[in-house]
């Protein structure tokens, strides 16, 4: 028992310091520094907003479209930050892994933690948008917490999986980049799900990311958001994306744990 606590203590200390280092290094030597992590989603928001309200008029039918859009971008952004950073996380720390025996998962967890802090800061901006846009908040907003937990797990699960696979297959970083690009269009981020033909919509919503984003919009922005339950006329269907997340998490962690013993010699 004492040993378990010791081990746990070490991971926590290490994790805290890795997150701190990550933050310091990320925006070091850039003039705006940390503001960039807020500015980036905002700029993407601005582009998409102009394109889809002024040029393509996709978003005009959606109430509170700016908040609706920004929320989608911020959640998606978290996912890309965790998984995109996760791919190279183990290989990037190769030097360290070869010299010191420490719990390998802290590397992945620290990347995920940094992104989580970013996510919270981005929510401050969403809050500002909501106040400006007169979006009312109800008690249903608390549903955001389990949704973010789900997002956390689906992102870190993929991160564990990708980082392990990347040790052996270095093409993966490019493949994942393309897949993320594909995911951006396959997930209802800038368009409302209702714009998709029904037969595609029922498929698209099974993706945990799509389910999370739609649910988050439903509880925070507007009830005129199609959730997975509405599409299938059943509450049980939520078990599909949640099940995907759970299975992905368990499998990827097992895979990571099994392979991580050999990281030091394979990198």
């Amino acid at each position: 028992m004492r040993k378990i606590r010791e081990r746990y203590r070490y991971s926590v200390i290490l994790l805290r310091e890795l997150v701190r280092t990550d933050f310091k290094l990320r925006y070091q030597d850039s003039i705006l520094g940390y503001i960039w992590s807020l500015l980036r989603p905002l700029l993407l928001f601005l582009i998409l907003y102009v394109v889809f309200t002024k040029l393509l008029k996709v978003g005009n039918a959606v109430p509170h479209y700016p908040v609706y859009l920004l929320l989608g971008i911020v959640l998606w952004n978290y996912f890309t930050e965790v998984t995109g950073g996760g791919v190279g996380a183990i290989v990037g720390r190769g030097d360290l892994l070869r010299k010191i025996n420490f719990p390998r998962y802290t590397v992945i967890l620290s990347g995920s933690m940094s992104a989580l802090i970013n996510l919270f800061l981005n929510f401050i901006i969403i809050a500002v948008f909501m106040i400006v846009g007169h979006v009312g908040v109800t008690i249903r907003a608390l549903w955001l917490i389990p949704l973010i937990v789900e997002l956390f797990f689906v992102s870190i699960a993929l991160s564990f999986f990708l980082s392990t696979l990347y040790v052996r297959f270095r093409d993966l970083s490019y493949v994942w980049e393309v897949l993320l690009q594909l995911g951006f269009y396959a997930t209802p981020i800038f368009y409302p799900l209702s714009r998709l033909p029904h037969k595609y919509a029922v498929l698209a919503i099974l993706n945990p990311l799509a389910q999370i984003i739609q649910d988050a919009r439903y509880v925070l922005v507007t009830r005129r958001t199609q959730t997975i339950g509405q599409l299938y006329h059943s509450g049980y269907v939520w078990l599909v994306p949640i099940g995907i997340t759970l299975i992905l998490t368990v499998l990827s962690m097992l895979y990571f744990k099994k392979r991580s013993r050999n990281f030091a010699e394979e990198i």
Partner: protein, 408 residues
Amino acid sequence: MDNNLAVKVTNVGKVFKLPHERANTLKGTFTSMLKMRKGPVEIQHALSDINLEIKKGEFFGIVGRNGSGKSTLLKIIAGIYQPTTGQVQINGKLMPFIELGVGFNGELTGRENIYLNGAMTGFSRAEINSMYKDIVSFAELEKFMDQKLKNYSSGMQVRLAFSLAIRAKAEILLIDEVLAVGDADFQKKCFRYFKNLKKEKKTVIFVSHDMNAIQEYCDRAMLIEGSRPVITGAAYDVSMAYTRMFIEQNQGKESKGDVYNRKKRWGDWRVKYTSVSINCTKLTDKETFFILETLALASDYINNECVFGFKIRNEKDEAIMGTNTKLKNHSFSKFTKGQKIELVWQVPNILNTGLYYIDLAIQNESYEDVYDWWEEAVQFSVEKREQNPYLIFPQYKLTVQHVSQPKK
């Protein structure tokens, strides 16, 4: 596991599989999958049949040549590598790192690196805070803590790393070749630290090429050669076995040696050595030995005086002793062409066990012109019967002159 043991290594072996053309891209994997073959894999036995029992409080050395598997063994004990066969049992808190300055990041300041490296060794921020001043002052870097580490000199980095390393709270320490990185001052600090470790009865596993350090600090040691243990035993015996291994191999090589090797011999040859020898190439406890030199004048340009000298170096390239004819007040200025001179140096055998080289030189009186400069002209070994960890080992004589009885 016996409770007196700190580390127990049982039948540990490590095999690295090195594919000749490793498929680390998808394309490579697909093509090799399509061809239904795995490609040639080279099996490299990095370690075999390692058995070790290290007692608590023991200072244990691991010696061997580069590539013999020492560091692999250390990494397996640290848990960085997994053994292919056998197992490692650890009893006590093991320091998880094996090199200095693990986790150092050049983009961070010295201060930030202290916290990061501290976390790697298991110190919380609060714990580092309480010893921060000591760390900095021991490293003598008070003025540099807010500078980025990449702007530090390598010496400064080593000092900082060492200052952190010695604070690690562990019962078992793994130390890999720390002596190789620093200057003399740093080595002194290292040795003081080792003495402390011994005093505190810490268990230390120490990898080094420095046989003097092995003899002086280690209780026991193991020699690894070609991934296998050769001998495990008292530190002195093991270090002797290591030295002997080197002597045997180098003497084998020497027979083919070419005398006029360009790198090792140069000069304008106005006067040159025609032969040089030593009366015994395997010295034991003999009190003196002789170096015989034959010289010949090759041309008649010589007007000035000539100085003939020699120097004896050890394996680590440290000059141990040497002298020349000028220092001995012998002058050689009258030469005729074709004349030969024979010199015999009688040298006291104060050398300790090891392999030695004799360098020879002929220069003018002011040492400006080099007529003949001949490095490693002769090689010889010394093996003293008694053991002694120091650089030189003259014959000591001890006489007990008077023993007084306590007054009643």
